[in-house]
C-alpha cells in the first residue's frame, strides 16, 4: 500500500508545481511587472541596429541573464522574437565569465559584473549610475516607473546604434564619445 501512496504524492507535487508555473503565477502582480520590464528590454533591443560584425552570428542575437535573476523567466519568453533580420535567443548563465559569449547581457542589479566583462556583449543593467559609468543601457526605476538611459558612445564602440525614436523616448541620453 505504501508504494502507490508515495507515487500519488509525487504526482500531487508535480501537479502543484505545474499549477504554480502555469496557472497561478501569471495572475500575480509581480509577474505583470516582470513581463512589463521584459517588454521594455525587448523594445530597446528592437530599436537597436547591430553592425554586421556584431555578435555570435548574423541571423541571431543571444540574450543572457544570470540563472538567479528574477527576470529570467520573463526574458525567456522573448525567445523567437525577431529583431530586424535576427532572431532572439535566450540563455541562462551561472557567472560573469559565461556571459562573454552572449550578444546582449542583462545584469539585473549587478554592476560589478560589468567590470568582469570583456567588451563583447551589449550590457543592460538596473544598477544606479550604470550608464554614467560607461554601461550602454541602464534601466531606471523610480517608484512605479521604469525608464531607460542610453550611453550611445559605449554602444557605438560595440558596433551598436539606436534609433532616434528610442533616444527620444529615453529618460536620458549620454555620449561618452
Amino acid at each position: 500500500m505504501q508504494q502507490p501512496t508515495r507515487h500519488m504524492r509525487s504526482i500531487g507535487w508535480a501537479a502543484l508545481i505545474v499549477a504554480a508555473c502555469v496557472g497561478a503565477r501569471p495572475a500575480a502582480a509581480q509577474d505583470a511587472h516582470e513581463s512589463y520590464k521584459a517588454a521594455i528590454i525587448y523594445n530597446i533591443i528592437r530599436f537597436a541596429e547591430f553592425g554586421p560584425n556584431f555578435g555570435s552570428g548574423q541571423d541571431r542575437l543571444q540574450l543572457c541573464s544570470f540563472s538567479s535573476e528574477p527576470l529570467a523567466d520573463a526574458l525567456m519568453q522573448l525567445r523567437g522574437k525577431r529583431v530586424g533580420s535576427r532572431q532572439l535567443e535566450f540563455r541562462r548563465v551561472s557567472g560573469p565569465a559565461e556571459m562573454a559569449s552572449c550578444d546582449i547581457a542583462y545584469l539585473g542589479m549587478s554592476a560589478s559584473a560589468m567590470r568582469a566583462m570583456p567588451r563583447g556583449p551589449l550590457l543592460i543593467s538596473e544598477a544606479p549610475g550604470f550608464a554614467e559609468a560607461g554601461g550602454s543601457v541602464e534601466l531606471i526605476r523610480l517608484g512605479r516607473q521604469i525608464r531607460f538611459e542610453i550611453n550611445v558612445g559605449s554602444a557605438r564602440r560595440l558596433g551598436v546604434s539606436f534609433s532616434s525614436k528610442l533616444l527620444r523616448l529615453a529618460a536620458g541620453v549620454r555620449d561618452d564619445g
Binding site: 505583470a32 517588454a39 521594455i40 523610480l142 512605479r144 534609433s163 536620458g172
Partner: protein
C-alpha cells in the same frame, strides 16, 4: 486578453484616476510578456507599473468619444501653442481672434470665452468661472513637457461636474523621470519667437524633479491690408515638478508654475460722435500674472483598490476688457476606485472648491454690482461599471451631485454602454446630462456695448440706439441632455477607424432678453437687455478619424467633423429679437489631413492640410491651408527643424464676434527655424 491583437488595440489612456474611470472597463486579466511586447514603446512607458495587473486602460474600450494628442503628434505638428495643437482633433473648433484671444470650443458654441468646455492642466482646472471661459494665451505649459492631451468630446459632467458640457480637455505633463538632463528649445519665426530651458534630475531611486523656464513673444495680427494692429504679445513662465515614489504603492507629486505677460488689446464698440457714426477703438495696455501650486498623493492599496487625493491653489490676475480681474481658487479632490470583482468596478469621488474673485471695471465698459465675490462648490460622484456579459457588454451608470453658490443644486447623471463586437470592432452609446453655471458677468454686471447709429445692424430705426446688458441674479444654469453613439474598428494593415455621432438637446441657454426701451436726450433710444435663460437649441453632428500607414515610412492621419447647431431666433414682447448665442460662429465642416514621412533615422518631412468651413453667422470665409515641416536630427543630442505655417494664403480672418468685439485681425503666413537640444 493575452492575444497580441487585443493588446495592440490597447492604447494606453487616462493615467489620472478620474479619466480612467470614465472609460470604465474592468480588465482584471494578468498581462503577459506577449501583451506588453505588442504595445508600442511610447504607450508602454506611460503604464504605471503597479496598476498594470489591472489596467492599462484603453481608448478602444471607452464608452465616449475620446481623442489623444500624443508626444509624437505634438512634435511632428510643429505647433508651438496648445490651441494650435488642438486643431488636429476632430470636433474641436479653433480660431484665432488676436494674439491674446483664441476662440476654442468642442461641438459648437464657439466664442472668445467658449463656456461649455472644461480644460485642465494635470487635473487643475483652468476654466475661469467668473468669465466662463479659458484664457488660452496664458496656458504656457512648455509643449516639450506635455505627455499627451486627452480630449473627451461630449459631456464629462458626471465625473468633472459643472461646465464640462460639450467637452473636457486634460493636458497631462510628463512625469519628471521623463525629463532628466538638460533640454533647450528655440523657435525663431517670422511671426513668433519662443524659447524653453529645462533641467531635470533624480535623487536615488525614489525622487525625480524638473525645473523649467519658457518665454514666448508674438507679433500682433494684421488688418486686411497687412498693416499691424499693434497688439504684440509677450509672456514668460517658470515652474517645477517633483515626483516622490518611496515604494511601489505610493506616488506623491508636487508641482507649480508662475507666469507674467503683457500685450495690447483692442476693443471695438460702435458709437455716434458729432462727426457722425464711427467705430470707437480702445487700445488698451493689458497684461496678466498668475501662479499655482498642486499636490497629489495616489496610493495603490491593493490590486483592486486605489485612491488619489489632490489639492491645489491657483491665482490668476489680468487686466483686459477694460477691467482688472483677480481670481483665486482652492480645490480639493478625492477619488477612489474599487474593483469589486472581475465584472464590476466602482468609482467614487468627493470634491470641494472655493473661489474668490475681484472684478473691477475701468472706463465704463463693464461694472459689477459686487466687485468681489466668493463662490463655493461641493460635489460628489459615483459610477459603477458592470460587465453584463463578461468581456462583451459593459454598462456604466453614474451621477454627479453638486451644490454651488451660483446656481444651487444639480444632478448630472450619465448611462454608458460598451459592446465588443469582435476582437477588432466595438460599439458604444451614452446618454448624459450636464449644466453650465452662469458667469459672474452674467449675474451681476452692467455692460455698456456702445451706441449704434441708425441703419447699422441691429439698429433699424432712425435714432441712435445705445445698448447695454444688465446681469440678472436670477440667471439659472444652462442644461444639456446629450445622446451619443460611436463605432471603432481596427482595419487591415494597421489602419484604425473611429466614428462618433451625437444629438444634443440644450435648454435654458443664456439669452440677452430686451427689458426696456427708453427715449434719451439727444435724441436717442436706450435699449436695455437683461440676462435670462430664454434660449433653446439642438446640436447634431459626427466626427470621424482614420489613421494608418501607406508605407513603412509614411503615416497618414485624417479627421473630419460635421456640426449642425440650431438655436432658433425668438422675439421679445417688444418685438425686438432676443440675443442668443450665434450658432453661425461654428463651422459646419472641418477636415484635417496629416502626412508624416520618416526618411531614414534622421530626416522627417511632414505636411498638414486643413479645411475649415465658412462661419455662416459672420464675415469669415472658408479656408484651406497647409503647414509643412522638415526635421533633421544632426546628432543624438540635437535636432533642427524648418516649419512653414498657413502657406496657402497670405493672411486670413478666422473669427469675429458681436460681443467684446475685436478688430478684424488676420492670421499671416509664417516661417520658422527651430532648434532642439538635449544633453
Amino acid at each position: 486578453m493575452s492575444s497580441p491583437q487585443r493588446a495592440r488595440r490597447q492604447l494606453v489612456f487616462g493615467a489620472t484616476l478620474l479619466l480612467a474611470s470614465m472609460l470604465g472597463g474592468v480588465t482584471a486579466h494578468a498581462q503577459t510578456v506577449e501583451d506588453y511586447t505588442a504595445l508600442p514603446l511610447e504607450e508602454l512607458l506611460t503604464i504605471e507599473v503597479t496598476s498594470v495587473a489591472k489596467k492599462p486602460q484603453a481608448i478602444s474600450e471607452a464608452a465616449a468619444a475620446v481623442s489623444v494628442v500624443t508626444r509624437e503628434d505634438i512634435r511632428r505638428s510643429g505647433a508651438q501653442t496648445i490651441p494650435e495643437l488642438l486643431r488636429m482633433v476632430p470636433g474641436v473648433e479653433v480660431a484665432q481672434l488676436d494674439t491674446h484671444a483664441t476662440a476654442l470650443s468642442v461641438r459648437g458654441f464657439n466664442t472668445r470665452f467658449a463656456n461649455t468646455l472644461l480644460v485642465m492642466v494635470d487635473g487643475r482646472s483652468v476654466y475661469v468661472s467668473p468669465l466662463s471661459g479659458v484664457l488660452w494665451d496664458q496656458q504656457l505649459v512648455p509643449i516639450e513637457s506635455i505627455e499627451r492631451i486627452e480630449v473627451v468630446r461630449g459631456p464629462g459632467a458626471t465625473l468633472w461636474g459643472s461646465n464640462a458640457v460639450n467637452g473636457v480637455i486634460n493636458i497631462v505633463t510628463k512625469h519628471s523621470v521623463d525629463t532628466l538632463g538638460t533640454e533647450l528649445s528655440a523657435y525663431l519665426g517670422s511671426t513668433e519667437r519662443r524659447a524653453m530651458v529645462r533641467q531635470g534630475g533624480r535623487v536615488g531611486d525614489t525622487v525625480s524633479y524638473r525645473l523649467y523656464a519658457t518665454g514666448r513673444q508674438a507679433d500682433g495680427l494684421v488688418d486686411e491690408n497687412g498693416d499691424p494692429y499693434n497688439d504684440d504679445w509677450r509672456g514668460a513662465q517658470i515652474g517645477f515638478r517633483l515626483d516622490i515614489e518611496p515604494n511601489k504603492n505610493d506616488a506623491f507629486t508636487l508641482q507649480g508654475d508662475a507666469q507674467i505677460g503683457d500685450y495690447r488689446s483692442t476693443l471695438v464698440s460702435p458709437t455716434v460722435t458729432p462727426a457722425g457714426a464711427s467705430l470707437l477703438t480702445a487700445n488698451d495696455d493689458s497684461g496678466f500674472a498668475g501662479f499655482n501650486l498642486l499636490g497629489r498623493w495616489s496610493r495603490q492599496v491593493s490590486d483592486t483598490l486605489d485612491w488619489t487625493a489632490q489639492a491645489y491653489f491657483d491665482h490668476v490676475s489680468f487686466r483686459d476688457l477694460q477691467s482688472d480681474v483677480t481670481r483665486n481658487q482652492i480645490d480639493t479632490d478625492f477619488g477612489l476606485r474599487w474593483q469589486q470583482s472581475d465584472r464590476q468596478e466602482l468609482v467614487v469621488g468627493l470634491a470641494y472648491r472655493v473661489a474668490w474673485d475681484k472684478f473691477l471695471g475701468r472706463g465704463g465698459f463693464i461694472s459689477f454690482t459686487n466687485p468681489t465675490e466668493t463662490d463655493h462648490w461641493l460635489s460628489g460622484f459615483v459610477q459603477d461599471d458592470l460587465w453584463l456579459v463578461p468581456d462583451r457588454l459593459r454598462l456604466s451608470l453614474g451621477t454627479k451631485l453638486e451644490h454651488n453658490s451660483i446656481s444651487g443644486f444639480s444632478a448630472q447623471p450619465s448611462a454608458r454602454m460598451f459592446m465588443r463586437l469582435s476582437e477588432k470592432a466595438s460599439l458604444w452609446a451614452a446618454a448624459s446630462r450636464a449644466v453650465r453655471t452662469p458667469a459672474r458677468f452674467e449675474t451681476s454686471a452692467t455692460i455698456k456695448l456702445g451706441t449704434v447709429p441708425p441703419g447699422v445692424e441691429p439698429n433699424s430705426g432712425s435714432w441712435p440706439l445705445s445698448l447695454s446688458i444688465i446681469g440678472s441674479d436670477s440667471m439659472a444654469a444652462e442644461q444639456l441632455w446629450a445622446y451619443e453613439a460611436g463605432f471603432r474598428a481596427d482595419l487591415a494593415g494597421g489602419w484604425t477607424f473611429d466614428i462618433a455621432g451625437y444629438y444634443n438637446d440644450y435648454d435654458k441657454l443664456r439669452s440677452y432678453t430686451p427689458a426696456s426701451l427708453t427715449p434719451q436726450p439727444g435724441p436717442s433710444l436706450a435699449l436695455q437687455y437683461v440676462t435670462a435663460n430664454d434660449g433653446k437649441g439642438r446640436g447634431m453632428g459626427a466626427e470621424l478619424s482614420l489613421a494608418g500607414p501607406l508605407a513603412d515610412w509614411w503615416q497618414i492621419r485624417f479627421a473630419y467633423s460635421l456640426l449642425d447647431l440650431d438655436i432658433p431666433e425668438q422675439l421679445s414682447r417688444y418685438g425686438v429679437p432676443i440675443e442668443l448665442q450665434n450658432p453661425g460662429l461654428s463651422p459646419h465642416n472641418q477636415l484635417s489631413l496629416r502626412s508624416e514621412w520618416t526618411l531614414g533615422q534622421n530626416v522627417e518631412f511632414d505636411a498638414w492640410l486643413r479645411y475649415v468651413d465658412k462661419l455662416p453667422g459672420g464675415p469669415v470665409d472658408d479656408y484651406v491651408d497647409l503647414d509643412l515641416r522638415a526635421g533633421w536630427r544632426f546628432a543624438s543630442w540635437g535636432e533642427v527643424t524648418l516649419h512653414g505655417q498657413n502657406l496657402l494664403s497670405r493672411r486670413r480672418l478666422e473669427f469675429t464676434q458681436p460681443f467684446f468685439p475685436t478688430p478684424k485681425n488676420h492670421v499671416e503666413r509664417s516661417i520658422a527655424l527651430g532648434l532642439h537640444l538635449r544633453f
